[in-house]
Amino acid sequence: MSSTATETVRPAAPSAARLEVGREGELLRLRLSGAWVTRTVGAQDAALHALEAGGATRVELDLSAVEALDTAGAWLVDRTLGELRRRGLQVEVTGAAPERQALLDKVERRRAAPPPPKRASSLLGLLEELGRGAADVGATAKELTAFLGQTVLALARTAVRPARLRGISLVYHLEKVGLDALPIVGLLAFLIGVVLAYQGSDQLARFGAEIFTVNLVGVAVLREMGVLITAIIVAGRSGSAFTAQIGTMKVNQEVDAMYTIGLDPVDVLVLPRLLALLIALPLLTFYANVMGLLGGAVMATVVLDIDLLSFVRQLRDAVELMTFWVGMIKAPVFAFVIALIGCYEGLKVSSNAESVGLRTTRAVVEAIFLVIVLDALFSIFYSVIGV
């Protein structure tokens, strides 16, 4: 098959590295043969380490029968020479062609690496990590607050001079975070409605109160589920995208370039994303509410024999307009938090690609965490004011 004149000097499977040890009185004769290359020398490592000088005072190391020698083989030879010399023996190398001698000289440059830096004991390390983690949380909170101030300031500047707003960028992000999220948000909200209706009817049927499934679905979707599901999806979809986009620009030094040109990254990168999410998330929430109720209605029709008309009638009795607004008012707050964290983490990316991934993960975790914490705070707030 091979049409070339190429002939491999080193065969694909080199012959084994062989070592013969002979003794003539005070002379220890080591004769190496075969191929002493990376793939073969492992077998002779122990034998060379265990070499016994016996009563010998001189050593002759014969390389003339060595078929191939590479740095690994040369290193073994060199190491053995060194060990024998340290034991006070006189060593002589014979049969080394000039280029092999050159290789032997070369491997003498090796220096043992210092021991790897010690790591603290596991318990101490754990404590240290815990402390560091706690301090990091504090530092992040502080920086995030500073970033919040910066962003609000930029928002105010833009409110005074709307011409500063990047219109095209805003529309682009509106499409990305809003329009493109419709299928997934709709589907998940619909399924949540179905699940709520199914689980609710199962429990309520024990009291013969199936009709209250409608109340359950209506209140749960409008007050909590619609906005929460939407916010979590958006945090995973768009919050992470913000971090990845801005982070990649950071790695490419695009953000630095903006500074040198005199552009404020908060104006250029953060505001359009923030405003897009502030507009899109409430709209998505409304859409999710509709889809959630629809899911509940479909389930009610199929399983509970509640037709669509009675569903709507019951819903109207169960749900006030206030219920709708209670859920809806959370949407812009969540949007603000998600966009803020997504952009903040993106700008925190350092110069390597690895940190993009790290920061993206952090952005999603932090955003979802804060969304749920805020949701809990909202609940407390509502119960205090009695809504």
Partner: protein, 290 residues
């Protein structure tokens, strides 16, 4: 020998790489067309060409990271690419060459020592202690200080990363070394040291080297022959031979101000005894102006 289209290398020569009739294309964009390229055992072959002429693509074809649209590629007598697929055992062949990527391409989560040990641990059954010793040897061979072994790539400078990448490429004592822009991004001193290191290792380890480069100084300092990618094909020869090539790009490349500066720098380094290069009498003035 006069510069010829790459296929001039024939018959009895000991060729470690032989590419014939290579064609590479991305969609409808043809990068190489009926390209021939060969490298002799023990030589340092430079690969140059304008941006977008497919230097790195050719390299990727040769090491099997890409599949050519047509043509055959033989390495070390094994056919790795042909119409209908190659016959070579790539796993076996990969142990016999090493590649240095542009920025080292070190595994970022591993230390330098662990990076070098990856191929050793994967492809040999060396005892761990010996593996560490060999790893330390490679660190020393590429001119890194011993304590660099425990650093992770992000703690190293660009030049050190390249050296560490070179150490990993040399881990298995390959017969062929592929280098993708080894001196790009290094300061002139670092680049010069890297060139010297390459030459040194090449002669000590009897390596065959193929290097893609933009660095004219590197070409003059290291390469035995140079292949120039023009018009989707390769023109090959020593630099002196290529200077007589009428192609305008090659003329510009070697006889432009930077080419002359690099040539005269090399002549100066060799105490003015110009073997490979002639007619550089007016070059120093060019350097001054450039």
């Amino acid at each position: 020998m006069s510069p010829v289209d790459g296929n001039g290398a024939g018959g009895g020569e000991d060729l470690v790489i032989r590419v014939q009739g290579l064609r590479t294309q991305f969609g409808r964009h043809v990068v190489h067309d009926n390209l021939d390229f060969s490298v002799r055992r023990g030589e340092v072959m430079g690969l140059v060409g304008g941006s977008g002429t497919g230097k790195s693509v050719l390299l990727r074809n040769i090491v099997g990271l890409m599949r050519p649209a047509a043509g055959t590629i033989d390495i070390l007598g094994e056919r790795i690419a042909a119409p209908g697929g190659g016959t070579a055992d790539m796993a076996l062949l990969r142990k016999r060459w090493g590649m240095l990527f542009q920025d080292g391409a070190l595994f970022s989560s591993l230390t330098v020592a662990q990076n070098i040990e990856v191929p050793l641990a994967e492809h040999t059954d060396l005892p761990p202690a010996l593996r560490r010793e060999i790893c330390e040897l490679k660190v020393a061979l590429v001119g890194l200080p011993p304590e660099a072994a425990h650093k992770v790539p992000s703690e190293l400078s660009g030049g050190m990363r390249k050296r560490a990448g070179l150490a990993r490429a040399l881990a298995l004592d390959p017969e062929i070394l592929f280098l993708d822009e080894p001196t790009a991004g290094l300061d002139p001193i670092g680049a010069h040291q890297f060139d010297a290191l390459l030459r040194d290792l090449q002669s000590a380890l009897l390596l065959t080297v193929v290097m893609v480069t933009h660095d004219l100084d590197s070409l003059y300092a290291v390469c035995d022959r140079v292949s120039v990618l023009v018009d989707k094909r390769v023109k090959v020869g020593t630099i002196a031979e290529l200077e007589r090539e009428p192609d305008p790009w090659i003329q510009d490349y070697f006889l432009g101000p930077r080419g002359r500066a690099a040539a005269s720098a090399k002549d100066a380094l060799r105490g003015g005894t110009s073997g490979a290069h002639s007619g550089t009498g007016d070059a120093p003035q060019d350097t001054m102006q450039g």
